[in-house]
Symmetry: C2
Amino acid sequence: MENLNRLTRKPRQSDVAKRAGVSTAIVSLVLNGRLEGNVRISQQTQERVWQAIRDLGYVPNPVARSLAGGQNRLLGVFTYEAIFPLEQHDFFYPFLLGIEHEAESQGYDLLLFTQTDASKRRKVFLEGVNRLQLADGAVLLGQYSDRDELARLQQEGFAFVYVGRREVSGAEISYVAADYAAATAEIINRLLDLGHRRLLYLKVPQTSESSQDREAGYRQAFVKRGVKLDESSIVPLEEEADLQPLEGWLARGITAIISERPGLALRIVEAARKLGKQVPRDLSVATLGDVAGAPHLTAELTTFCIPRQEMGAEAVRLLLKRMESPPQTGPYRLLLPCTQTPGSTIGPPRHPKPRPTSQ
Amino acid sequence: MENLNRLTRKPRQSDVAKRAGVSTAIVSLVLNGRLEGNVRISQQTQERVWQAIRDLGYVPNPVARSLAGGQNRLLGVFTYEAIFPLEQHDFFYPFLLGIEHEAESQGYDLLLFTQTDASKRRKVFLEGVNRLQLADGAVLLGQYSDRDELARLQQEGFAFVYVGRREVSGAEISYVAADYAAATAEIINRLLDLGHRRLLYLKVPQTSESSQDREAGYRQAFVKRGVKLDESSIVPLEEEADLQPLEGWLARGITAIISERPGLALRIVEAARKLGKQVPRDLSVATLGDVAGAPHLTAELTTFCIPRQEMGAEAVRLLLKRMESPPQTGPYRLLLPCTQTPGSTIGPPRHPKPRPTSQ
DNA sequence: CTGAAAGCGCTTACAG
DNA sequence: CTGAAAGCGCTTACAG
């Protein structure tokens, strides 16, 4: 560090090489620990190089490293929404926790892409340029995603893993996802086992993969149980929907409501109580997931927890695996189990189907 | 995009140049819209270049661009603790919100440094090397910081801004901080104005800059008001400290307690009530800051809010200013006002000093 | 075991 | 108005 103050420019590899009395190739090899192979560098030389590096306070330029074909030990993190959102504050947090932790373990730094296009929207391709290329690979997350961009990214052979299942026609996306189907099926199984036959499944109106998976789980449970599924039991409903119909549902003999959205489930429990009904005595209510960062919100509800932190960590691991293999391989996919949380909002129905009517 | 499928390698600038019958320089200029200056490129040429770009599906390599261009439009974010901590979940969040938002506005991406040294601790200098140089500049934050590293970073002329005041001997650190002194003084002023004379100031045992600033504010208020400060009114106390002494304080005639820590303040209110005292009738309680991400926790308390998001955003702005100026200039510093929140835990004391004893 | 050199894909003076 | 060339700071064959 002696004369850095006199120097304006940063030291570069050639400065180190000069000072250590070796070529830049040697500096590069020492720096990258490539001490095996067909090159054997004496201990002494290595020491001289490290000393020169320390003396000069040399730091390799990651951009140059990247360009020269090496890697830069940077993992990209890309989201189509702001990664630190004001509302829904906690949505990304647990994922990031897992991503950061695993990146740290693996010795990678994180590159958060925040640049937007002219219309203030986040894009992988800005003016046709794939900016994620700055990193060795990237983890993508967020509910909204631009399918065309994902397809193009995949076609380019860029190494990325999505946190959440993403299907795009013409491209096999690698992902780490929660096993919503299995977790949903398990809840429905319990309800069927308890004797419920008149279920109502309130799903989100938009069809996302996670929503499809939950619906698939719903259907699987009926098939497995050999119970005929009433197609009209699947009803798309907005989270903020008016709960007027609740009374009608109860009158129609619905004994269990499964709401895909936790918020809606909570409102249903509340509304049912307002109608003088007890949960779960008069109505069982379940939901299909927890609220990130607010487990207490769904503590009462029968539901399952999404392993967000683990998903983040596994996404990083899968990404590294993907990065080590030739482009265009894969896809790499991993399904993580959700944890069932008992809750206290489901129970046996008042009039279980199997039981004959009272004589 | 005609024969991209046949081609294994991506087209590069020279391919475009060849196809358009121009030099790479022209392609670069057209691509970057540098059509003024001392170069004038005919409409026709421009069209040929764009056509070639389209024909080949050419995408400029951002890494090469960075290397040739000198900057990489990357802003570092460094913390000595994990940036997404499990406990104290919300500590960094509002700062990051501001940082991300401002970085986005300014067209920078964020580089989160997560790499650790052999003993799993975060360091700016790993093996003697300043890793922050990966970015064009960096924002540092977190309560704990390694002063030696900050000093060295400063001496190296690296462009960085700390979120929070940091004083290091022999180095003038640039920072954006909350004006704790002014905010504290304002609260103390109010108490003095209400007639309180027997105050108790519970400060954190460790001396950090923010703690010093608050204490300074406490003292300033007395000076300004011309009231003699009782040195023994300043008591270091752990957040989790036993509140046994409370009864003694009340017996000694303390009418107002100012706790630097919100958590402790809340416990004091609670403990006082358990002793049958009313707040603020029998005891005024104030604290000197809010809890990040949980404003409701301190809603009842008389305190002030720390403008965390704004601090993050201003840190980025200051950093960009710093980056534009020659190294070794500065320091760049900014003090941001806190917002007073009324709360309901202070009121006039039972026996205001100025009032003569009842006749 | 070590060095000279090409090359990664751009940008930017600098000549023409 | 346009082209040839140097240079950004590395890595990696390829000679010695």
